[in-house]
Structures are given as structure tokens and as C-alpha cells.
Symmetry: C2
Subunit: 248 residues, 2 copies
DNA sequence: CGCCTTCTTGAGATGACTCAATGGTGGTGG
DNA sequence: CCACCACCATTGAGTCATCTCAAGAAGGCG
């Protein structure tokens, strides 16, 4: 396991509020007073290079993060050390919050690409949460949303074929990235795709070898092409149908 | 699908606070003032007979519940209607809370045995949550705990064998029931077990047929015996080891 | 240029599934 | 009280999806 490549970028912390990402980002709805207060406590921006770990399963969870840029993979390891991907975190996502009393991270977070995050101390979050019900509600909603996707993952792993799982994952990522998608309006949609086939397999519960075969089949069927760093969706309706994906 | 057999038992609502179940039950920590307030709004006790549904996936979530007595199975169905069990709810568990803005249940809840629940209106819960940060915190923790088990389920389904998954499920139920376990101190532990093999399979992501074969193997190996309505654990350490179960 | 990661493909093994049939068990009504 | 029925558990035989092991090809980076 690679050692932690996280480096703090501090000062020069142009405040978190300017994070130009997605609307669900935590602390985008918070008014300036709170932001000032949060800033007055210790919190900052961190840079993380690809393959570095932001935190690891079982470690004491002192910080939670908002992802500014880059992709992360959240995963848990089994007893043999094999990874099972839980989800991909995209810019704007709030990760690492631990409400549990034991205060340990329940999963690991590894950078897929270079990434920048904004860190908050759990203790500060708890304090803010106790003071403002709106924030509490917001966090509850974020948790609930993640819970729903986790339940979907259970359903998918238990009941769907390899094709369906991969198609669903691609469809989900495409859907989440859609606001930023380039060259839409055409028949072929394309998106950046920094995952290796091995990671794709880890997220779908498949061997890298079998992941490759499935991708080949999807390519042969004219559904999608998965190259290094880029996925092109040739037949979106078909992909959605195979993956049984519907907006949640 | 069986029609809803839920019947309201109202009045005669000896208050929820007397629910003599497990320490994590919601509204056991709440002081009397809040309870009175909650009672003054509409909420009551409901009786549900085995195989009846408390709520179903996709329906508007008007109510959340605390389980008084009996067992429930929470599950989601795939496109072919096959069930995937998400978890078993035991007395004291808080279920059906929907923080999501869409306000739909994310899964179905079916009674495994006859059951009694205490229902709360979501709107009232939200109001209480906005008023008292302690409750918000408590709900957040319940969510987080469930989230952790859901992530474990993902790991299990993707990476563990049928034996391991079944052993883990039995170990987990035994652990959760342990406070009430009878005849401990002996080498053989026993607990009530109202699940059919089919339900066991739904919870482990297995066919009923294969579930049966796994149970036979576990029996032949002297690990546990699963009969109608009762499970006897012959070799607890071995069961824990097979299921890789450790207190979470 | 050479190494290292990632991707690709083949061949064979296997865990879990499907289909199908039989045997128990408990409840219900005659 | 018994006979029937529905549901559940059990077992066999054969199939299929996915895994494992193994080796080669293709890029990228120092």
C-alpha cells in the first residue's frame, strides 16, 4: 500500500465557498457567518496525488472532506486484502463523515486521479450540527442518498449479471458527470474516464480479467467503447436499458 | 403479493416509552416532554401479521416505525421481482425513516413473524429533528450504523462464498439477539429462527436450493443445525471464523 | 531504450444456478 | 380424528457464469 501522499496546502486557502462544483456540495448552502466560523477553526485545503490515500478503513476519523477536484474511490478490503469498491466520489461530494461513536472510518478513500479536498474536523462538524438544524438535516440527506445507492449496489451485486453491473456503473457516472459533458447533442457521448479496468472490476465485484471480457462484448455490441482515460457511449438508450438505470 | 394485513390498534396506546426492548431504540432516550408532544400528534401502535407488508418500495413514505415485537425483513426487488434482502429488523430497530426529499421508501418491509410496531409521521419526525439537535444526532447515528452494515453486505456479496455469507448472517443475528439468549454458558447456543430457507437465501443473495445445500454442509461439519423455527449453534468459534464476524 | 503497469486473450476449473421431482409438516375442514 | 392441501425442505443431474492460472501485447515514463 502506497504511503500517504497527502500534502497540506496552507495557507492560500481561498475559501471553500468558492468551490465551483456541484450543487449538492456541503457548505455551499451555508451562509457566510458559519463559513467564517468554520474557517476560524482549523480547516484547510489538501492536495492528493493519484493512488494516494486520503484515509483508510479502521483509522480514527478526525476529518471529513469535500472533494474539490479529481476522482476518488471509496472501498473496503476483505480479509485477503482484495478491494471491493463502494462508490466513486466526484467533485462536490462530501466524504469521510463518521457519525459513529467509535469514530473510525468505515472504508478507505483512494485517489484515482490527482485530487484536491477541503478538510473539516469531525468535532467542528458535530458542533455545527448541534447548533444548526439545517446542517443536520442536510447531512442526514446526504447520508440517506448514499444509503440508497449502497442498497442499489447490494441489489446489483446479488442479482445482476456482470454486463448489467458494468453498464449500470458507466451509466451512473455518465449521469453524474452529465452537467459537464462535452459534445452532447450528438449521437455519441463521451466522458473522461480515469479508472483502470481493475478498478472498474473492484467497483462491480468482478475479476479484472472478466471485466475486460465484458468490456469487449459491450464494444462488439456497439454499446460503448472504453479506452484509456476515456469512455465513449455509442448507444445510450441501450446502455441505460442494459444497466436498468433510471435517475434513481 | 399479499395484501396489507396491517391493522391499527388504537386507542389503548400504552405509550411507546414503555417499549421494553433494546437500548438503541429511538425514543428511549427522549424525555417525557417530547414524548407527550409526539403523542399529542397522531401516532399509534400497529399490529402486522406474518407475511404482511408494513410498507413497500417506491410508496410515499408518510410514516416511520419503531419495531416493538416480531421480526421484519427489509428488501428491494429487482426488475424480475426477485427479492434481495437488505437486513432483518429486530425489536427495538427504527425503520422506514426517509430523509430524502422525494419522500419515497427506498425498500420494502415485510413481516417475518407477527409483529407490533409504533408509527410516527415523517413530518413530525422532521419537526422534532429540527427542534432538537440531540434527536438529529441520534438519527444520524442510526443511519450511519445501518450504512456500515450495508457496506459490509456489499463486501460480503462481492467477495465471500455462500458458506461465509450464511455463517455471517447467522452470527450477526445471534450477536444481535444475544442479550436475550437462553441457555448460554453451555457449549451449544440456540436461538429462535423464524426465517424460511428461502428468506435466508434472499438475505444472502442465494437460491433457495443452494441455501439448503450450504446449510446441509454446515450441519455435516458440526457447525450449526438449522431447523424450523430454531437454530442451534454447535461450534460458535468456528461459525464466527467462517463468517469472519467480529462485533463490527 | 527498457521497464512496469495495464490490457488482452486462451484454456480449464468450479461455485452457484436451473429444472425437476420427492418427502415432511402443520393447518384446516369435513 | 383423519385426510387433504399448501408450503417448505431436500436431493439429483446437468448447465452456465465467473474465476484462476498463464502468457503475450501494448502503451507510457524515466
Amino acid at each position: 500500500m502506497k504511503t500517504n501522499k497527502m500534502t497540506e496546502v496552507r495557507p492560500a486557502p481561498t475559501r471553500c465557498a468558492v468551490c465551483p462544483v456541484r450543487e449538492k456540495a456541503l457548505f455551499q448552502v451555508i451562509n457566510d457567518d458559519y463559513l467564517h466560523e468554520a474557517e476560524s477553526r482549523r480547516f484547510g485545503q489538501y492536495r492528493l496525488s493519484a493512488r494516494g490515500h486520503l484515509f483508510e478503513e479502521g483509522a480514527p476519523s478526525t476529518m471529513a472532506y469535500t472533494l474539490f477536484s479529481g476522482w476518488l474511490m471509496l472501498y473496503r478490503s476483505d480479509s485477503e486484502g482484495a478491494r471491493q469498491g463502494l462508490r466513486v466520489a466526484l467533485p462536490g461530494d462530501f466524504i469521510g463523515y463518521a457519525a459513529l461513536t467509535d469514530g473510525l472510518y468505515g472504508h478507505s478513500a483512494m485517489a484515482i486521479t490527482d485530487a484536491v479536498v477541503c478538510g473539516f474536523r469531525q468535532a467542528d462538524l458535530h458542533a455545527m450540527l448541534d447548533r444548526d438544524a439545517k446542517i443536520a438535516r442536510h447531512i442526514t440527506e446526504i447520508q440517506a442518498r448514499y444509503l440508497a445507492t449502497c442498497e442499489s449496489k447490494v441489489l446489483g451485486l446479488a442479482r445482476k449479471s456482470a454486463e448489467q453491473r458494468i453498464a449500470h456503473l458507466i451509466a451512473e457516472l455518465f449521469h453524474r458527470l452529465e452537467p459537464h459533458a462535452e459534445g452532447d447533442g450528438e449521437r455519441a457521448h463521451s466522458m473522461p474516464f480515469p479508472l483502470t479496468q481493475e478498478m472498474l472490476g473492484e467497483l462491480s465485484g468482478l475479476t479484472p480479467v472478466h471485466t475486460n471480457r465484458v468490456l469487449r462484448r459491450l464494444r462488439a455490441d456497439g454499446v460503448m467503447v472504453c479506452e484509456r482515460q476515456r469512455v465513449t457511449i455509442l448507444d445510450l438508450p441501450r446502455l441505460l436499458q442494459i444497466g436498468e438505470f433510471n435517475e434513481n
